[in-house]
C-alpha cells in the first residue's frame, strides 16, 4: 500500500536536495533529520531503510564539512534516496506494505504518538498528493523553502505520548539506569573485562529501549537500540572495549540522559520533545563505530564544526525554540506564557513527587513496627492490668496501642502500588494482538485502583501479558465465527481486580470460544500427561493447560503458541504464591481467576507441630488435612508409605524423619496427614497436630546460614520465638531424593568434614 506520506516525504527530500548546496547547512541539517526519522520510524519499507539511513549519514558528512568531495557526496545522497524511492514503488503492492501502520491508521496518534511528527509533512504535502511520484521532481515549485522548513523541523522533534501518566515513573526509573550505567561504564573503563558492569549498562539500555518503545517515545527507543547494539558487539567479544568505544558509550549514556530531560521539558511545556544537540552526530558515530579506525577516540561531527550547529539554531522560529531548551535561545515571552499555561493545563507531572527508598530500609522499618506490635501487646497483656488498679495507665497503654496499629497499617501500605499501570500496559497488548490476529476486541478494566505489593506487580506483569495475549488470540473467535455463533462481532476481554478475604483476585474474563474438556483430555492423554480423566474436576482438567509442553493451539501464530507457555505463567504466579483457577463454559468464554496475596511480606500459614518443634506451612500449598483410617494406608515394596484418598494414591512424607525431630508421633493414625502440592503430584505430610492458622512475616534465616534445604525462611511467632517456614515443593523433592536414614547421613557428615 502506498501512502502519500511516505512517497511524498521521500520525493520532498529528493526535490529539496536539488535546490540545496553544501553551504546551506541549516536546511541540510533539517533534511538529514527528516531522513533519519523516516528511516527509524518504519515509514519506508524495511529494504529501503538502509538507503535512507545512508543518505542521512552522507548528508551528515556534508554538513560537517568532512566529506572529501561534496559534489560526489551529493550524488551519493540523491542516489540513495532514488534507490529508496524505487524500493517504495516496487513494494507498492498491498502485500508488501508495512502493515502495522496502514491497518492502524484511524487511531494512529493514539497508538504511536510519534507518528504525529510525520503527520506534519503529510499536511504540507497534501495538495501535491495526487501528483504521481515520478513527476514530483519535475515540479518543485509548490515545495517552497518555507513550508518545508517548518515541516521538517517538526519531523526533527517528537511528541509527548498520550499516556503521559506513565512518564514520570519512566523518567525516574530511567534516570536511575543512566546513573547506574555511568558508574558501571567508569568501572568498565578501569577493568574492560568486567562483564557484570557491561551487563548492567546493556540491561539499562535494553530496559529503557523496551519501555520507551512501549510508551511511544520512538526516538529514545531508537537511540537506546543503537547504543545497545554497540554494547552487544562488545559483549559478543566482536570488538574490544577500547577508549573510542568507552567514549561513545559514555556519550550515549549522556545522550540518553539528555533525551530524558527533553521529555521532562516537553511535559512541562507544549508537549513537543526537543532534539538534544548532537543527537544525530552521536547516532551516526555509534552506527559507524569501527574498532580499526576509532579505537583511540571518536570525533563527532558536531565537534568538528560547532560553529555550524550554532549557526543553525537562530534559524528556528521562536515558537519552536521554547520547546527546544537545549538550544539555549531565549524563549519569547508569548511562548513562555503559552508554556506556563500548558503546564497548568496538564497538572503537575513532576517526577519528584515521590521519593525512592531502598527496599531493605523499608523492610527494616516494617520489621521494627512488627516488633513494636509484639512489644506493645506484651505490655498490654501484663498482669499488672489484671488487678484493675492501674486504670489510668491501662487507658494510656490502650491509646498507644491504637497508634501502633495505625503505624503498622501505614508501614504495610508503603510497599503498595495500584494495579493501574499494569492494566494500562495490557490495554496496549490487547490492541496490538487484536490487530495482528484480525479480531475486534473490546478491553474493559475494573478495579485498577486495587493496591498490591510493588514486588508482586513486577512479577505479575509478564504472566498477565501472556494470558491476555492468549485470551485475544485463542479465546476470542474471529468476527465471522462469532457472528456464526450468534455473538456480537466485537469480543470482550475483561480484566478486573478486587479484594477478597485478605487476597487480591485478578480475573481475566473473555467471551470467546471457551475450553472444551474433551479436547483437553484427549490432548493430555496423547501427550502422556494423564491416563484418563477419571476423578478429575473441570478445574483439574483445565489446569492441564499449565503443564509444560501442552498447547492446544492448532497452529502456531507469532503471537502465541511458541514455547513460552502457560507453564511459565503458572511458575511465575507460584513464585509469588499466587493461585490460578479456571472456569469455562464451551462457546461462552473462559475466566482465569488469579488469587494473590496482598504482599509477599506476609504469608498466610498453618502452624503445625512435629514433636516439640513448630513449622509454618504456607496455606496456598495445603489442600486438606485429615487423620487417616488404617484401611487407607499401605506400603510399597516394603518401605514406601502411601495413602489412598478418594482413589488418589499419594506418598507419605514423615516430616519428623526428614528433619530428624525426636519424640514425634510415629503412626499416621495418631497424627495428621496434610495434603500438599499441585494437581497430579500431591504428597501427604505427616505432622503431629495443627496449631492454627496465622499470618506471619517471612524473613531470611540470615546470610551466615545460606540456603537451608526444605526451609524457605523464618518467621517470628506470637511468643517471640522463630518458626521455620517450609518450602513445600523443596521438602517434597528432598524426601523423594532422600532415601538416606539419619544414621547414614551422620556418616556422610563426618566424611564431609574429614574431606
Amino acid at each position: 500500500m502506498r501512502t502519500p506520506v511516505q512517497q511524498l516525504t521521500l520525493d520532498d527530500a529528493a526535490t529539496l536536495l536539488l535546490q540545496l548546496e553544501a553551504s546551506d547547512t541549516a536546511d541540510l541539517t533539517k533534511l538529514r533529520d527528516a531522513l533519519t526519522d523516516l528511516a527509524f520510524e518504519n515509514r519506508v519499507p524495511m529494504r529501503a531503510q538502509p538507503f535512507v539511513a545512508r543518505a542521512a549519514r552522507v548528508l551528515g558528512t556534508i554538513i560537517a564539512g568532512s566529506a572529501p568531495d561534496s559534489a560526489a557526496a551529493f550524488t551519493e545522497v540523491s542516489e540513495s534516496i532514488e534507490e529508496a524511492m524505487r524500493i517504495c514503488d516496487s513494494s507498492a503492492s498491498p502485500a508488501a506494505a508495512p502493515a502495522p501502520q496502514s491497518t492502524a491508521a484511524p487511531t494512529v496518534t493514539k497508538v504511536a504518538p510519534t507518528q504525529a511528527s510525520l503527520a506534519a509533512p503529510s499536511v504540507v504535502a497534501a495538495p501535491v498528493a495526487p501528483v504521481p511520484a515520478a513527476s514530483a521532481p519535475v515540479e518543485p515549485a509548490p515545495v517552497t523553502a518555507e513550508p518545508v522548513r517548518s515541516a521538517q523541523h517538526d519531523a526533527g522533534s517528537d511528541q509527548v505520548p498520550d499516556d503521559a501518566d506513565l512518564l514520570p515513573d519512566f523518567i525516574t526509573e530511567s534516570r536511575e539506569y543512566v546513573a547506574a550505567s555511568e558508574a558501571a561504564l567508569l568501572s568498565l573503563e578501569e577493568n574492560p573485562t568486567d562483564e557484570e558492569a557491561l551487563n548492567t549498562v546493556f540491561r539499562a539500555f535494553h530496559t529503557v529501549k523496551g519501555t520507551s518503545a512501549f510508551l511511544g517515545l520512538s526516538r529514545i527507543a531508537a537511540f537506546a537500540h543503537e547504543a545497545e547494539s554497540l554494547l552487544s558487539r562488545v559483549r559478543e567479544k566482536e570488538i574490544a572495549y577500547a577508549r573510542g568505544c568507552a567514549d561513545l558509550s559514555l556519550r550515549a549514556v549522556d545522550m540518553l540522559g539528555a533525551l530524558l530531560e527533553a521529555v521532562v521539558t516537553a511535559l512541562a511545556s507544549d508537549g513537543k520533545i526537543p532534539l538534544p544537540a548532537g543527537y544525530h552526530e552521536l547516532l551516526d558515530a555509534i552506527a559507524a563505530y569501527d574498532p580499526a579506525l576509532h579505537a583511540n577516540g571518536v570525533t563527532l561531527a558536531t565537534e568538528a564544526d560547532d560553529a555550524v550547529t550554532d549557526a543553525v539554531r537562530p534559524d528556528i522560529s521562536p515558537a519552536n525554540s521554547a520547546s527546544n531548551a537545549s538550544a539555549g535561545a531565549a524563549p519569547s515571552s508569548a511562548a513562555a506564557t503559552a508554556a506556563t499555561a500548558a503546564r497548568q493545563a496538564r497538572g503537575d507531572t513532576s517526577a519528584d513527587a515521590t521519593i525512592r527508598v531502598r527496599t531493605d530500609r523499608l523492610d527494616r522499618l516494617i520489621d521494627m513496627v512488627g516488633e513494636l506490635v509484639i512489644a506493645q501487646s506484651m505490655i498490654a497483656g501484663d498482669e499488672l492490668f489484671g488487678t484493675g488498679k492501674s486504670h489510668e495507665l491501662l487507658r494510656k497503654v490502650t491509646h498507644s496501642g491504637k497508634i501502633v496499629r495505625e503505624l503498622q497499617d501505614l508501614s504495610m501500605s508503603m510497599r503498595m502500588v495500584p494495579l493501574r499501570a499494569t492494566f494500562q500496559k495490557l490495554a496496549r497488548v490487547v490492541r496490538d494482538t487484536a490487530v495482528k490476529a484480525g479480531k475486534t476486541v473490546q478491553f474493559v478494566t475494573e478495579g485498577d485502583d486495587v493496591e498490591i505489593d510493588r514486588t508482586l506487580v513486577d512479577i505479575l506483569g509478564d504472566p498477565l501479558v501472556h494470558m491476555v495475549r492468549n485470551a485475544v488470540d485463542h479465546g476470542v473467535e474471529p468476527p465471522h465465527d462469532r457472528a456464526a455463533a450468534g455473538k456480537s462481532n466485537t469480543g470482550t476481554v475483561r480484566l478486573s481486580a478486587y479484594y477478597a478475604s485478605g487476597n487480591v483476585v485478578v480475573e481475566l474474563i473473555d467471551d470467546g470460544r471457551g475450553l472444551y474438556r474433551e479436547k483437553l483430555v484427549k490432548k493430555a492423554i496423547e501427550k502422556g500427561l494423564i491416563e484418563s480423566d477419571k476423578g478429575m474436576t473441570d478445574n483439574d482438567v483445565f489446569s492441564l493447560i499449565f503443564a509444560p509442553g501442552f498447547s492446544t493451539a492448532e497452529k502456531i501464530t507469532d503471537i502465541s503458541g511458541r514455547g513460552v507457555g502457560m507453564d511459565v505463567v503458572r511458575r511465575n504466579l507460584e513464585s509469588i504464591r499466587g493461585r490460578i483457577d479456571i472456569t469455562s463454559v464451551p462457546g461462552k468464554g473462559t475466566t482465569f481467576a488469579i488469587r494473590l496475596p496482598l504482599t509477599l511480606a506476609v504469608t498466610d500459614g498453618m502452624l503445625v507441630r512435629v514433636g516439640q518443634e513448630r513449622f509454618i506451612v504456607p496455606l496456598t500449598h495445603i489442600h486438606m488435612s485429615f487423620r487417616p483410617e488404617p484401611s487407607m494406608l499401605s506400603t510399597v515394596v516394603g518401605h514406601g508409605e502411601v495413602v489412598l484418598l478418594r482413589g488418589e494414591l499419594m506418598p507419605i512424607v514423615r516430616l519428623h524423619r526428614l528433619f530428624d525431630v525426636p519424640d514425634a508421633v510415629q503412626s499416621p493414625l495418631e497424627g495428621l496427614l496434610m495434603i500438599v502440592g499441585d494437581g497430579n503430584r500431591r504428597t501427604a505430610l505427616l505432622v503431629d497436630e495443627l496449631l492454627g492458622q496465622q499470618q506471619v512475616v517471612a524473613k531470611t534465616l540470615g546470610a551466615a546460614l545460606g540456603k537451608v534445604p526444605g526451609v524457605s525462611g523464618g518467621a517470628i511467632l506470637g511468643d517471640g520465638r522463630v518458626g521455620l517456614i517450609l518450602d513445600v515443593n523443596e521438602t517434597v523433592a528432598l524426601a523423594q531424593s532422600d532415601e538416606v536414614t539419619p544414621l547414614q547421613r551422620d556418616r556422610d557428615r563426618h566424611q564431609d568434614v574429614a574431606a
Binding site: 512488627g370 540470615g702 546460614l705 537451608v708 534445604p709
Partner: protein, 167 residues
C-alpha cells in the same frame, strides 16, 4: 579467597594488641576482638534448623531479625558435660550477624602485643588455625579467637553439607 584470608592473617598478626571480650567455653577462657562484638544477650529459646551440621544450634529472634546461633563447643568438639548456656554473644562481621553460645562472659581486657604469643602447633586433630594467638594476663591464658575464620569455615561447611544432601 585464599589470598584474602592470607592478607587478613597478615594484618591481624601485626596488630593483635587491643581490647578483647573474654568468655568461658567448657572451662577454657577465650577472647574475642571487642570491635567484632555487637551485643551480649541472655539465653533465649533457640529454634533448631533441620539438616544443618551439629554446631549450628538454630536461629533466634533478635528484635525482629532472625540470626543463626553457632555452638563453638560442638565446633571445637569439646566435652559437652556441665554446659551452662548462659548467654549469647552476637558478633557482627561484614554486616552479617551471628550469635555464639557461651558458658559465661567474663570481662573486657586490653592485651598488649608483648603478651600475645602465636598459637603453638599441637599436631593433627587440634584446630589452632582459628586462633589469632594466645594472650597471657595475670598468669592466666586466654585463647584469642579469629572469629572471621571460625564462622567462615562453619558457614562453608554448612553449605557443603547442605549441598551434599540436596544432591
Amino acid at each position: 579467597m585464599s589470598a584474602q584470608t592470607e592478607s587478613s592473617t597478615a594484618v591481624s598478626t601485626t596488630s593483635r594488641a587491643g581490647k578483647y571480650l573474654t568468655f568461658f567455653l567448657a572451662g577454657e577462657e577465650y577472647g574475642l576482638e571487642i570491635l567484632k562484638v555487637s551485643e551480649i544477650i541472655g539465653m533465649q529459646p533457640i529454634t533448631r534448623v533441620p539438616r544443618m551440621p551439629e554446631f549450628v544450634r538454630g536461629v533466634i529472634n533478635l528484635r525482629g531479625k532472625v540470626i543463626p546461633i553457632t555452638d563453638l563447643r560442638k565446633k571445637f568438639q569439646m566435652d559437652l558435660d556441665g554446659n551452662e548456656d548462659s548467654c549469647i554473644i552476637v558478633v557482627q562481621m561484614k554486616g552479617i550477624q551471628t550469635g555464639i553460645v557461651v558458658d559465661r562472659v567474663s570481662e573486657v581486657v586490653a592485651i598488649a602485643e608483648a603478651d600475645i604469643e602465636d598459637a603453638p602447633s599441637f599436631g593433627a586433630g587440634i584446630h589452632t588455625e582459628f586462633l589469632l594467638g594466645i594472650g597471657k594476663q595475670n598468669g592466666r591464658v586466654k585463647l584469642l579467637l579469629d572469629i572471621d575464620k571460625v564462622l567462615k569455615t562453619s558457614e562453608i561447611e554448612a553449605l557443603e553439607i547442605a549441598q551434599s544432601h540436596a544432591a
